[in-house]
Amino acid sequence: MDIIILIFVFVLAIFLGVELINKVPSTLHTPLMSGSNAISGITLVGALVSAGSTHNEFASILGVLAVAFATINVVGGYMVTDRMLAMFKKKEGGNGK
């Protein structure tokens, strides 16, 4: 993959992230953190490839460990964020679901 394109994507994504997150109100900062934490578990995608390739045993072992830890991050992160957000309710808005 062309190095410059990767760097380009990286820089643009950082700027996009800054624009997106700047608009999140402080009341949602904890769910934002746990939710973005779940997104950082995207490493799972890379880990799957390492874990599943049988050419290199050492890399596979590292891959499986990475899969396990990244999955904790993904599953736990999304679930706990959902649990938190389910509790946020507006004043007169019933149960807010």
Binding site: A13, L20, S36, V45, L48, V49, V64, A66, V75
Partner: protein
Amino acid sequence: MNIDDTLINLVYVAAAVLFILGLKLLGSPATARKGNLISAVGMLIAVVVTLGNQQILSFELIAVGVAVGALVGAIVSRKVAMTSMPEMVALFNGFGGLASLFVGWAALSVALVAALRSGVAVDNFSLVTIFLSILIGGLTFTGSLLAYGKLSEKISGRAFVYSGQRIVNSGILLAVLVCAALFFQDSANDNWLYLAVGLSLMLGVMFVLPIGGADMPVVISLLNSFSGLAAAAAGFAIGNILLIVAGSLVGASGIILTSIMCKAMNRSLTNVLFSGFGTVKVSAGPVIEQGEVKPMSAEDAYYVLEAAASVVIIPGYGMAVAQAQHAVKELQGMLEKNGAEVVYAIHPVAGRMPGHMNVLLAEADVPYDLLLEMDQVNPRMDSFDVAIVIGANDVVNPAAREVESSPIYGMPVINADQARTVFVLKRSMATGFAGIDNPLFFKENTRMLFGDAKATLGSLVKSFD
């Protein structure tokens, strides 16, 4: 099943769009839950399509890894108490960092084997990005574990400062780079690699060690950012654009939260990272204005509250410790039944992570539109009959405005002292996490309600019955 690489990448684009939409919807409490779900769908399709990658030949190990991870993640996320959210997020950050370290290391191993076969050395860009993912992943892991230990009070939460830590940390970082450079020269010598991994892990510890107490919200935000950057670095290492995009989004999010937290404490990031708050020696000079502390019983406080038309509640970490959020909500209900207006004033660094108080109050069914930010409350503070400070200390300390020699001078605070009457619910007269005297306790209009916050609130609620 083998899926074409182009198709996989197209699905990755869709996943990236879903992450972005998800984060966008997180911008409002009304749509946030949907946003989180959309982001999770993005993750799911990315994972599923990756399983079609031609390089994946064996699925047994993957199944084991996913099963273990999903089980642990599901159990932890269900069991964790809302008060313990900061340490859980810290722990998850660490796991993300560790996963990135492993992915980087695995990529290195694969690249070296390939280089050995083909006789063509691994290119420098791959080596550099692989080492970056190992470095950032490693320090995120140990830094987060230490933060977890501090937040869950398994180890002392105090800052541990020694002279020259800047030099030591820079030295470790430099040593990692030297190891990387030596490894580039002679990639047959694994020792340089192990040394680099070890030093990265050590750097995480040394980096979080001098930070403690009230600075923890900054640390978690920063580690959150690192966990994203580690994923992005791993993305560079294995040439996966989705990892880069998602990782940078998280990295950016953490950077913003970090800067918000720093601003809320009127300190620079370097100041937080290196100067160890709460270890500053405060001169005993300017506390002359201290008068007498005026304690008050819950009964007497009730008479004041009964006559109040507007009440502002200012929670702090002490509310979390006392698990008093439900009692607070009960008191709110009683006051409202009595015809009073009740709002909450939330300081950005109240608690141990950004938004900590908001989640606790949401758990207790407090509507989020009653939770006001500091800047919304301060201009009308003098219109409140009563301000009830529950387990907050430094964030309502008027010394930040009045005492120039105070270490927190200049920090934006909630001006609780400007309300007509201030009730401070406090266990004892001990100083806050920052260890600074609080003139608020000695003001003419302040009354101290000593004791466990939950018990005090309980007896106030009972008085209303």
